[in-house]
Protein backbone atom coordinates (compact mmCIF):
# COMPACT_ATOMS: atom_id res chain seq x y z
CA UNK A 1 0.00 0.00 0.00
CA UNK A 2 1.01 3.57 -0.50
CA UNK A 3 1.99 6.06 2.18
CA UNK A 4 -1.38 7.86 2.21
CA UNK A 5 -3.38 4.64 2.20
CA UNK A 6 -1.37 3.23 5.05
CA UNK A 7 -1.94 6.42 6.97
CA UNK A 8 -5.70 6.08 6.50
CA UNK A 9 -5.56 2.45 7.58
CA UNK A 10 -3.63 3.36 10.71
CA UNK A 11 -6.14 6.08 11.63
CA UNK A 12 -9.06 3.68 11.18
CA UNK A 13 -7.27 1.22 13.43
CA UNK A 14 -6.81 3.87 16.11
CA UNK A 15 -10.42 4.98 15.78
CA UNK A 16 -11.60 1.45 16.49
CA UNK A 17 -10.34 1.76 20.06
CA UNK A 18 -13.05 3.26 22.30
CA UNK A 19 -10.45 5.29 24.21
CA UNK A 20 -9.19 7.31 21.27
CA UNK A 21 -10.10 10.88 20.47
CA UNK A 22 -8.48 12.92 17.68
CA UNK A 23 -7.92 16.59 18.38
CA UNK A 24 -6.34 19.57 16.73
CA UNK A 25 -7.01 22.01 13.93
CA UNK A 26 -8.46 20.79 10.60
CA UNK A 27 -9.34 17.52 12.26
CA UNK A 28 -13.11 17.59 11.87
CA UNK A 29 -12.97 19.70 8.75
CA UNK A 30 -10.69 19.87 5.71
CA UNK A 31 -7.56 21.99 5.75
CA UNK A 32 -4.40 19.95 5.82
CA UNK A 33 -2.91 16.88 4.24
CA UNK A 34 -3.63 15.02 7.47
CA UNK A 35 -7.33 15.88 7.38
CA UNK A 36 -7.87 13.47 4.51
CA UNK A 37 -6.45 10.58 6.50
CA UNK A 38 -9.32 10.95 8.97
CA UNK A 39 -12.11 10.69 6.40
CA UNK A 40 -13.23 7.29 7.70
CA UNK A 41 -13.11 8.22 11.36
CA UNK A 42 -16.52 8.85 12.90
CA UNK A 43 -17.38 12.49 13.58
CA UNK A 44 -17.86 11.86 17.27
CA UNK A 45 -14.20 11.02 17.66
CA UNK A 46 -12.95 14.20 16.03
CA UNK A 47 -12.56 17.28 18.22
CA UNK A 48 -11.92 20.47 16.31
CA UNK A 49 -10.03 22.90 18.51
CA UNK A 50 -9.32 26.59 18.22
CA UNK A 51 -5.73 27.49 17.38
CA UNK A 52 -4.22 26.95 20.81
CA UNK A 53 -1.25 24.64 20.39
CA UNK A 54 -0.12 24.80 24.01
CA UNK A 55 -3.61 24.25 25.38
CA UNK A 56 -4.22 21.46 22.87
CA UNK A 57 -1.17 19.57 24.09
CA UNK A 58 -2.02 20.06 27.75
CA UNK A 59 -5.61 19.01 27.12
CA UNK A 60 -4.31 15.85 25.48
CA UNK A 61 -2.24 15.07 28.57
CA UNK A 62 -5.28 15.69 30.75
CA UNK A 63 -7.47 13.48 28.59
CA UNK A 64 -4.86 10.75 28.88
CA UNK A 65 -4.64 11.12 32.66
CA UNK A 66 -8.38 10.57 32.79
CA UNK A 67 -8.26 7.41 30.68
CA UNK A 68 -8.54 8.50 27.06
CA UNK A 69 -6.03 7.72 24.33
CA UNK A 70 -5.75 11.11 22.62
CA UNK A 71 -4.31 11.49 19.15
CA UNK A 72 -2.98 15.05 19.17
CA UNK A 73 -2.41 16.40 15.68
CA UNK A 74 0.00 19.11 14.55
CA UNK A 75 0.40 19.07 10.77
CA UNK A 76 3.93 20.51 10.90
CA UNK A 77 6.84 20.45 13.35
CA UNK A 78 6.91 24.24 13.12
CA UNK A 79 3.40 24.43 14.55
CA UNK A 80 4.19 21.91 17.25
CA UNK A 81 6.97 24.18 18.52
CA UNK A 82 4.26 26.31 20.14
CA UNK A 83 3.47 23.37 22.42
CA UNK A 84 7.00 22.58 23.52
CA UNK A 85 6.41 23.44 27.18
CA UNK A 86 3.56 20.98 27.44
CA UNK A 87 5.50 18.26 25.64
CA UNK A 88 8.93 18.62 27.22
CA UNK A 89 8.09 19.90 30.70
CA UNK A 90 4.84 18.07 31.28
CA UNK A 91 3.88 15.09 29.12
CA UNK A 92 7.48 13.90 29.06
CA UNK A 93 8.22 14.62 32.73
CA UNK A 94 4.99 13.67 34.53
CA UNK A 95 5.97 10.00 34.76
CA UNK A 96 9.25 11.08 36.35
CA UNK A 97 8.03 13.67 38.82
CA UNK A 98 5.18 11.42 39.92
CA UNK A 99 7.47 8.41 40.48
CA UNK A 100 5.66 6.57 37.71
CA UNK A 101 2.29 7.25 39.29
CA UNK A 102 1.03 9.17 36.28
CA UNK A 103 1.76 7.70 32.87
CA UNK A 104 -0.32 9.67 30.38
CA UNK A 105 -0.12 8.00 26.99
CA UNK A 106 -0.60 10.43 24.15
CA UNK A 107 -0.06 9.83 20.44
CA UNK A 108 1.25 12.98 18.79
CA UNK A 109 1.03 13.20 15.02
CA UNK A 110 3.28 15.71 13.36
CA UNK A 111 5.00 16.11 10.05
CA UNK A 112 7.81 17.54 8.03
CA UNK A 113 6.22 19.95 5.59
CA UNK A 114 6.22 19.02 1.95
CA UNK A 115 8.52 20.97 -0.35
CA UNK A 116 7.26 19.70 -3.70
CA UNK A 117 5.63 20.87 -5.91
CA UNK A 118 5.29 24.04 -3.82
CA UNK A 119 7.90 25.12 -1.28
CA UNK A 120 6.09 26.77 1.63
CA UNK A 121 9.31 28.42 2.79
CA UNK A 122 11.28 28.06 5.94
CA UNK A 123 8.69 28.43 8.67
CA UNK A 124 6.83 25.39 7.37
CA UNK A 125 9.39 22.70 6.56
CA UNK A 126 11.28 22.19 9.81
CA UNK A 127 12.37 18.76 10.94
CA UNK A 128 13.06 18.77 14.68
CA UNK A 129 13.13 15.03 15.17
CA UNK A 130 16.63 14.91 16.60
CA UNK A 131 16.12 18.00 18.74
CA UNK A 132 13.09 16.43 20.40
CA UNK A 133 14.94 13.18 20.94
CA UNK A 134 17.48 15.20 22.90
CA UNK A 135 14.83 17.05 24.91
CA UNK A 136 12.60 14.12 25.81
CA UNK A 137 13.44 11.46 28.36
CA UNK A 138 10.31 9.31 28.19
CA UNK A 139 8.58 10.14 24.90
CA UNK A 140 9.60 8.00 21.94
CA UNK A 141 9.91 9.72 18.58
CA UNK A 142 9.31 7.53 15.53
CA UNK A 143 9.92 8.84 12.04
CA UNK A 144 7.97 7.33 9.18
CA UNK A 145 10.24 7.16 6.16
CA UNK A 146 8.52 4.24 4.46
CA UNK A 147 4.88 3.27 4.01
CA UNK A 148 5.33 -0.09 5.70
CA UNK A 149 6.48 1.63 8.90
CA UNK A 150 3.22 3.49 9.37
CA UNK A 151 0.77 0.91 10.67
CA UNK A 152 3.23 -0.78 13.08
CA UNK A 153 4.24 2.60 14.48
CA UNK A 154 0.71 3.68 15.32
CA UNK A 155 -0.20 0.21 16.57
CA UNK A 156 2.76 0.34 18.94
CA UNK A 157 1.88 3.84 20.05
CA UNK A 158 -1.64 2.77 20.97
CA UNK A 159 -0.92 -0.60 22.51
CA UNK A 160 2.33 0.08 24.35
CA UNK A 161 2.21 -0.61 28.05
CA UNK A 162 5.46 1.00 29.10
CA UNK A 163 3.80 4.26 30.07
CA UNK A 164 5.45 6.21 27.27
CA UNK A 165 3.92 8.62 24.82
CA UNK A 166 4.88 8.66 21.16
CA UNK A 167 5.57 11.38 18.64
CA UNK A 168 5.04 10.00 15.16
CA UNK A 169 6.73 12.05 12.45
CA UNK A 170 5.27 11.92 8.97
CA UNK A 171 6.78 13.35 5.82
CA UNK A 172 4.56 15.56 3.71
CA UNK A 173 6.27 14.81 0.43
CA UNK A 174 5.85 11.09 0.84
CA UNK A 175 2.07 11.41 0.70
CA UNK A 176 2.47 11.90 -3.04
CA UNK A 177 5.76 10.16 -3.67
CA UNK A 178 5.66 6.83 -1.82
Amino acid sequence: MKYFDEMCRAMEFLAHDPRTIFLGQAVACPGTIMSNTLKNVSRGKLLELPVTEEMQMGMSTGLALAGHAPVCIYPRWNFLLLAVNQIVNHLDKLPIVSNGGYQPKVIIRTGIGSERPLHPQHQHVGDFTEAFRLMCKTIEIIRLDEAEQIFPAYKKALEREDGRSTIVVEHGDYYNEK
Binding site: G58, G62, S98, N99, G101
Partner: protein, 226 residues
Amino acid sequence: MTKTEERKAAVLPGSSGQDVQPPCAPVLTAEELISFETEIAEAFNAGKIRAPIHLYYGNEAQMIEIFRDIKPDDWVFCSWRSHYQCLLKGVPREEVKAEILAGRSISLCFPKYRIVSSAIVTGVLPIAVGVALSLKRRGETARVHCFAGEMTAETGTFHECLKYSTNHQLPIRFIIEDNGKSVCTDTREAWNQPALTYENSRHPLVAYYKYQSKYPHAGAGQRVQF
Protein backbone atom coordinates in the same frame (compact mmCIF):
# COMPACT_ATOMS: atom_id res chain seq x y z
CA MET B 1 -11.03 30.37 65.61
CA THR B 2 -13.27 27.31 65.45
CA LYS B 3 -13.53 25.12 62.35
CA THR B 4 -16.94 26.53 61.60
CA GLU B 5 -15.67 30.08 61.90
CA GLU B 6 -12.73 29.28 59.65
CA ARG B 7 -15.08 27.92 57.01
CA LYS B 8 -17.21 31.03 57.11
CA ALA B 9 -14.23 33.39 57.12
CA ALA B 10 -13.91 33.36 53.37
CA VAL B 11 -16.77 33.71 50.92
CA LEU B 12 -15.61 32.60 47.54
CA PRO B 13 -17.25 32.66 44.15
CA GLY B 14 -16.86 29.63 41.92
CA SER B 15 -18.21 27.36 44.60
CA SER B 16 -21.25 25.18 44.09
CA GLY B 17 -22.45 26.13 47.53
CA GLN B 18 -23.87 22.64 47.95
CA ASP B 19 -23.19 20.43 50.91
CA VAL B 20 -24.59 17.22 49.48
CA GLN B 21 -21.48 15.12 49.96
CA PRO B 22 -18.88 15.33 52.70
CA PRO B 23 -15.55 16.94 51.92
CA CYS B 24 -12.73 14.69 50.78
CA ALA B 25 -11.00 14.45 54.13
CA PRO B 26 -11.47 15.43 57.74
CA VAL B 27 -11.02 19.19 57.72
CA LEU B 28 -7.74 20.26 59.20
CA THR B 29 -7.52 23.34 61.35
CA ALA B 30 -5.55 26.42 60.46
CA GLU B 31 -3.21 25.63 63.30
CA GLU B 32 -2.52 22.17 61.90
CA LEU B 33 -1.73 23.57 58.48
CA ILE B 34 0.57 26.24 59.90
CA SER B 35 2.25 23.66 62.10
CA PHE B 36 3.01 21.49 59.07
CA GLU B 37 4.65 24.33 57.16
CA THR B 38 6.62 25.33 60.27
CA GLU B 39 7.93 21.80 60.52
CA ILE B 40 8.96 21.83 56.86
CA ALA B 41 10.59 25.25 57.27
CA GLU B 42 12.63 23.97 60.19
CA ALA B 43 13.70 20.90 58.23
CA PHE B 44 14.72 23.10 55.32
CA ASN B 45 16.65 25.53 57.50
CA ALA B 46 18.42 22.58 59.08
CA GLY B 47 19.63 21.52 55.64
CA LYS B 48 17.53 18.36 55.54
CA ILE B 49 15.80 19.16 52.22
CA ARG B 50 18.12 19.51 49.25
CA ALA B 51 15.56 20.95 46.89
CA PRO B 52 13.38 24.06 46.75
CA ILE B 53 10.34 24.40 48.96
CA HIS B 54 7.50 26.90 48.58
CA LEU B 55 5.53 27.45 51.75
CA TYR B 56 2.05 28.75 52.41
CA TYR B 57 1.02 31.05 55.22
CA GLY B 58 -1.85 33.40 55.85
CA ASN B 59 -4.44 31.71 53.62
CA GLU B 60 -5.53 28.88 55.87
CA ALA B 61 -9.12 29.99 56.32
CA GLN B 62 -9.62 30.46 52.59
CA MET B 63 -8.11 27.08 51.78
CA ILE B 64 -10.24 25.29 54.33
CA GLU B 65 -13.31 26.97 52.86
CA ILE B 66 -12.30 26.04 49.31
CA PHE B 67 -11.86 22.40 50.23
CA ARG B 68 -15.34 22.21 51.68
CA ASP B 69 -16.42 22.06 48.06
CA ILE B 70 -13.93 19.41 46.95
CA LYS B 71 -15.01 15.79 46.93
CA PRO B 72 -12.86 12.65 47.05
CA ASP B 73 -13.27 11.91 43.34
CA ASP B 74 -12.45 15.46 42.29
CA TRP B 75 -9.13 16.38 40.71
CA VAL B 76 -6.89 19.08 42.17
CA PHE B 77 -4.22 20.83 40.11
CA CYS B 78 -1.53 22.92 41.75
CA SER B 79 1.61 24.88 41.09
CA TRP B 80 4.95 24.57 42.92
CA ARG B 81 3.23 25.61 46.18
CA SER B 82 0.86 22.80 47.10
CA HIS B 83 1.40 21.47 50.63
CA TYR B 84 -1.98 22.71 51.87
CA GLN B 85 -3.84 21.24 48.92
CA CYS B 86 -2.28 17.82 49.46
CA LEU B 87 -3.10 17.82 53.17
CA LEU B 88 -6.65 19.05 52.68
CA LYS B 89 -7.33 16.57 49.87
CA GLY B 90 -6.57 13.84 52.35
CA VAL B 91 -2.99 12.77 51.70
CA PRO B 92 -1.62 11.61 55.07
CA ARG B 93 0.65 14.15 56.70
CA GLU B 94 3.64 11.83 56.85
CA GLU B 95 3.22 10.89 53.20
CA VAL B 96 3.33 14.53 52.14
CA LYS B 97 6.29 15.16 54.38
CA ALA B 98 8.20 12.18 53.00
CA GLU B 99 7.81 13.47 49.45
CA ILE B 100 8.99 16.92 50.50
CA LEU B 101 12.00 15.54 52.33
CA ALA B 102 12.78 13.52 49.19
CA GLY B 103 13.03 16.80 47.30
CA ARG B 104 9.73 16.73 45.44
CA SER B 105 7.92 19.64 47.06
CA ILE B 106 8.04 21.59 43.83
CA SER B 107 5.90 19.14 41.85
CA LEU B 108 3.94 17.00 44.28
CA CYS B 109 1.81 14.37 42.57
CA PHE B 110 -0.46 11.90 44.33
CA PRO B 111 -2.38 9.85 41.77
CA LYS B 112 -4.42 8.04 44.42
CA TYR B 113 -5.78 11.41 45.53
CA ARG B 114 -5.99 12.85 42.01
CA ILE B 115 -3.47 15.61 42.71
CA VAL B 116 -1.23 16.94 39.95
CA SER B 117 1.34 19.72 40.41
CA SER B 118 3.79 21.44 38.12
CA ALA B 119 6.75 23.69 38.78
CA ILE B 120 6.17 25.57 35.52
CA VAL B 121 3.98 28.68 35.31
CA THR B 122 0.60 27.82 33.68
CA GLY B 123 1.72 24.20 33.34
CA VAL B 124 -1.27 22.50 34.90
CA LEU B 125 -3.94 24.76 33.41
CA PRO B 126 -4.53 23.02 30.05
CA ILE B 127 -4.01 19.61 31.63
CA ALA B 128 -6.79 20.44 34.05
CA VAL B 129 -8.99 21.47 31.13
CA GLY B 130 -8.31 18.12 29.45
CA VAL B 131 -9.33 16.21 32.55
CA ALA B 132 -12.47 18.32 32.85
CA LEU B 133 -13.29 17.63 29.21
CA SER B 134 -12.88 13.91 29.82
CA LEU B 135 -15.15 14.02 32.86
CA LYS B 136 -17.82 15.77 30.85
CA ARG B 137 -17.58 13.41 27.87
CA ARG B 138 -17.88 10.40 30.18
CA GLY B 139 -20.72 11.92 32.14
CA GLU B 140 -18.89 11.65 35.44
CA THR B 141 -19.88 13.78 38.39
CA ALA B 142 -16.36 14.59 39.57
CA ARG B 143 -15.04 18.12 39.10
CA VAL B 144 -11.67 19.78 38.60
CA HIS B 145 -10.19 22.45 40.86
CA CYS B 146 -7.21 24.26 39.40
CA PHE B 147 -5.10 26.60 41.54
CA ALA B 148 -3.15 29.48 39.97
CA GLY B 149 -1.25 32.48 41.22
CA GLU B 150 -2.32 35.99 40.26
CA MET B 151 0.52 36.38 37.75
CA THR B 152 -0.42 33.08 36.12
CA ALA B 153 -3.99 34.32 35.87
CA GLU B 154 -2.82 37.20 33.68
CA THR B 155 -1.25 34.95 31.04
CA GLY B 156 -2.59 34.08 27.63
CA THR B 157 -2.75 30.41 28.55
CA PHE B 158 -5.02 31.17 31.49
CA HIS B 159 -7.25 33.24 29.26
CA GLU B 160 -7.52 30.45 26.69
CA CYS B 161 -8.20 27.78 29.28
CA LEU B 162 -10.86 29.79 31.07
CA LYS B 163 -12.54 30.76 27.79
CA TYR B 164 -12.62 27.18 26.52
CA SER B 165 -13.86 25.84 29.85
CA THR B 166 -16.57 28.48 30.08
CA ASN B 167 -17.80 28.15 26.51
CA HIS B 168 -17.85 24.36 26.68
CA GLN B 169 -19.33 24.31 30.18
CA LEU B 170 -16.65 22.08 31.61
CA PRO B 171 -16.80 20.94 35.25
CA ILE B 172 -13.86 23.02 36.42
CA ARG B 173 -13.13 26.03 38.56
CA PHE B 174 -9.97 28.10 38.74
CA ILE B 175 -8.88 29.33 42.14
CA ILE B 176 -6.66 32.40 41.88
CA GLU B 177 -4.40 32.96 44.85
CA ASP B 178 -3.17 36.53 44.97
CA ASN B 179 -0.13 37.21 47.13
CA GLY B 180 0.80 40.16 44.92
CA LYS B 181 4.04 38.73 43.69
CA SER B 182 5.49 36.38 41.12
CA VAL B 183 8.72 35.32 42.81
CA CYS B 184 9.78 38.91 43.70
CA THR B 185 8.10 40.74 40.83
CA ASP B 186 5.15 42.92 41.78
CA THR B 187 2.37 41.69 39.51
CA ARG B 188 0.36 44.92 39.39
CA GLU B 189 3.42 47.07 38.88
CA ALA B 190 4.80 44.84 36.13
CA TRP B 191 1.52 44.91 34.23
CA ASN B 192 0.94 48.58 35.15
CA GLN B 193 -2.53 47.54 36.22
CA PRO B 194 -3.78 48.53 39.70
CA ALA B 195 -6.64 46.02 39.60
CA LEU B 196 -5.88 42.65 38.06
CA THR B 197 -8.16 41.05 35.50
CA TYR B 198 -10.15 38.74 37.79
CA GLU B 199 -9.89 40.29 41.22
CA ASN B 200 -13.15 42.13 40.96
CA SER B 201 -14.88 39.86 38.51
CA ARG B 202 -17.67 37.50 39.42
CA HIS B 203 -16.80 34.94 36.80
CA PRO B 204 -18.70 31.74 37.56
CA LEU B 205 -15.64 29.55 37.09
CA VAL B 206 -13.25 31.71 39.08
CA ALA B 207 -12.66 31.93 42.80
CA TYR B 208 -10.29 34.68 43.92
CA TYR B 209 -8.68 35.47 47.20
CA LYS B 210 -5.81 37.59 48.47
CA TYR B 211 -3.38 36.72 51.19
CA GLN B 212 -0.08 37.81 52.59
CA SER B 213 2.56 35.26 53.47
CA LYS B 214 5.36 35.54 55.96
CA TYR B 215 7.51 33.25 53.83
CA PRO B 216 9.53 34.27 50.76
CA HIS B 217 8.82 32.78 47.34
CA ALA B 218 11.15 29.87 48.00
CA GLY B 219 12.80 28.58 51.12
CA ALA B 220 11.97 29.65 54.63
CA GLY B 221 13.65 33.01 54.86
CA GLN B 222 16.99 31.85 56.12
CA ARG B 223 20.19 31.24 54.19
CA VAL B 224 21.04 27.56 54.31
CA GLN B 225 24.56 26.26 53.80
CA PHE B 226 24.58 22.72 52.42
